[in-house]
Amino acid sequence: MPELKCTREACGNALVELGRANKDIVVLSADLAGSTKAEDFGKVFPERFFNMGIAEANMMNTAAGLAAAGKIPFATTFAIFASGRAWEQIRNTIAYGNLNVKIIATHGGISVGPDGASHQGIEDIALMRMIPGMTVLVPCDAVETPKALFAASEYKGPVYVRLARLKIPIITQLTDSFVIGKFNVLKEGADATIIACGVMVAPALNAAETLIKEGIKATVINAYSIKPLDEERIISYAKKTGAIVTAEEHLATGGLGSAVADILAANCPAPLEMVAIKDRFGQSGEPDELMKEYRLTSEDIIKAAKKAFARKKQ
């Protein structure tokens, strides 16, 4: 069994590491510093940590001002509030001005659990992806999370990083590369391609193991860079395998699946099955109960892969 760890915890540690390396790194929090783990940075660098209270719109624009004056601000809160409450501030000030603000959104997806629908950001990828010039990263485990933060801090311009609340398996290696605009191929197989992001990458790997026993060899791709997408890889694997499954803890509308569909339709139409939330809000429940209810398990990926594989033969 792989080790389990929260991506948000890894994020807290990474922020401290970044703060040590660069004195221009500042961190903002809209309360919730304990939940997002932004407090770790605040303990080490109190003068560079700004708790902005429960006022996300003001936090995003304050971050914009800090960036305009040469700082590298990391603005942290839950995905629903970062992308929803402060969307227009991100759009009109941060992105329109191409300001160097890093938005760290924890508690993405329904695996937030018992807090229920109001706290489960399920449309944030879509909301951020549509903004011109925005970069959207979704690391898949606690090893990849610091790499996403380091890449974001080196990149000049606005970046949205989506993290989860719960502990998830560590499935990547320290030596795996992380380049904005690229995907990593975790497993090769000629019959179908599963493109997954975030917490769905581990179930995608499990699904591929089971699929082998049923005669379907699937490629598994870790799509950590949702925008820009690794267009080249999507096209080459669509051509190579002829059947695509996307898996994300997000609405089917506007997320990874939609982004992949755009590329396929324009370049190399292929059967595509999306494992995603279908036009409904979340609810309270334990994360594993919710993932089952919303069809976001490895069994759902297996079903989708079989369906895409069958469609290929039609």
Binding site: V26, E47, R48, F50, M52, G53, A55, A57, N58, M60, N61, T62, A63, A64, G65, L66, A67, A68, A69, G70, K71, P73, E88, Q89, N92, T93, Y96, G97, N98
Partner: protein
């Protein structure tokens, strides 16, 4: 230090020229916001021709004072002031709102030299100014941050989030100015959605508040000087102004919030502004 009468006269004639630019450029564009541009003329003259430490030859000079226009629809007065300072040529004002222009309908920091921050969507500029002021404090920089807000804009809740945090972080390197002309696009502010009493609200939020006649350059400058001496809290200068100031048929008429004068009206207005 009191200003010489020559200096005041020169600032007043600057104000007149800027008003002429505003009328001409909006007339030429065929759309735009004359009312709230004309009300803020003396405020920008006091800042750009007296107070701000800036260098038009080096718009991004790191140690410059920063001015942000949160009420971005008043872009014409900003563009006119920047052109008069020398950030770009006065003839560029003719391109306002035209395809490919450096002078967008609302300020765009990526296109216009001297424009510190894009704006237009109301309620955001003070929060941004706070961030800049916080960065200045972190690095012990001597420069100051100035932000111009509208009175109607104070209906945006985010303005008060920003008011709260500027006082919380004791941003005494920040000075906001309120263009209190009493009108917004739909009518008088207290009829649309009263944000009054404004001076009391800013004081209650922990700000040092100074109220001035917003068309009296000496008073504005005295308040700006005073603000620099206040430690531990940000200053709000409430500038009582007249919307459409200087053009009789525009003064105190909300209909001129966002409407361009036709060629005859441009001519009539320019006659008054001689």
């Amino acid at each position: 230090m009191a200003l010489s009468s020559d200096k005041i006269a020169s600032l007043q004639s600057r104000a007149k020229v800027i008003r002429q630019h505003i009328i001409r450029m909006i007339g030429k564009a065929g759309s735009g916001h004359p009312g709230g541009s004309l009300s803020a003329v003396e405020i920008l003259v006091a800042l750009y021709f007296h107070k701000l430490r800036i260098n038009h030859k080096e718009p991004k000079w790191p140690d410059r004072d920063r001015f942000l226009m949160s009420k971005g629809h008043a872009a014409p007065v900003w563009y006119a002031a920047l052109a008069e300072v020398g950030f770009f040529q006065v003839k560029e004002l003719d391109s306002l709102r035209k395809m490919g222009s450096t002078l967008q309908g609302h300020p765009d920091m990526k296109r216009t030299p001297g424009v510190e921050m894009s704006s237009g969507s109301l309620g955001q500029g003070l929060s941004i100014s706070n961030g800049i002021a916080m960065a200045g404090k972190l690095d012990n920089k001597p420069w100051r941050v100035y932000a111009l807000l509208g009175d109607g804009e104070c209906q945006e809740g985010q303005v008060w989030e920003a008011a709260m945090s500027a006082a919380h972080y004791k941003l005494d390197n920040l000075c906001a100015l309120l263009d209190f002309n009493g009108l917004q696009i739909d009518g008088p502010i207290e009829k649309v959605m009263s944000p009054l009493p404004l001076a009391d609200k800013w004081a209650a939020f922990g700000w040092n508040v100074i109220t001035v006649d917003g068309h009296n350059i000496e008073e504005i400058i005295a308040a700006l000087d005073k603000a620099e001496t206040i430690k531990g809290k940000p200053t709000m200068i409430v500038c009582k102004t007249v919307k459409g100031k200087g053009v009789s048929f525009m003064e105190n008429r909300h209909e001129w919030h966002g409407k361009a004068p036709n060629p005859q009206q441009v001519e009539a207005a320019l006659r008054e502004l001689q």
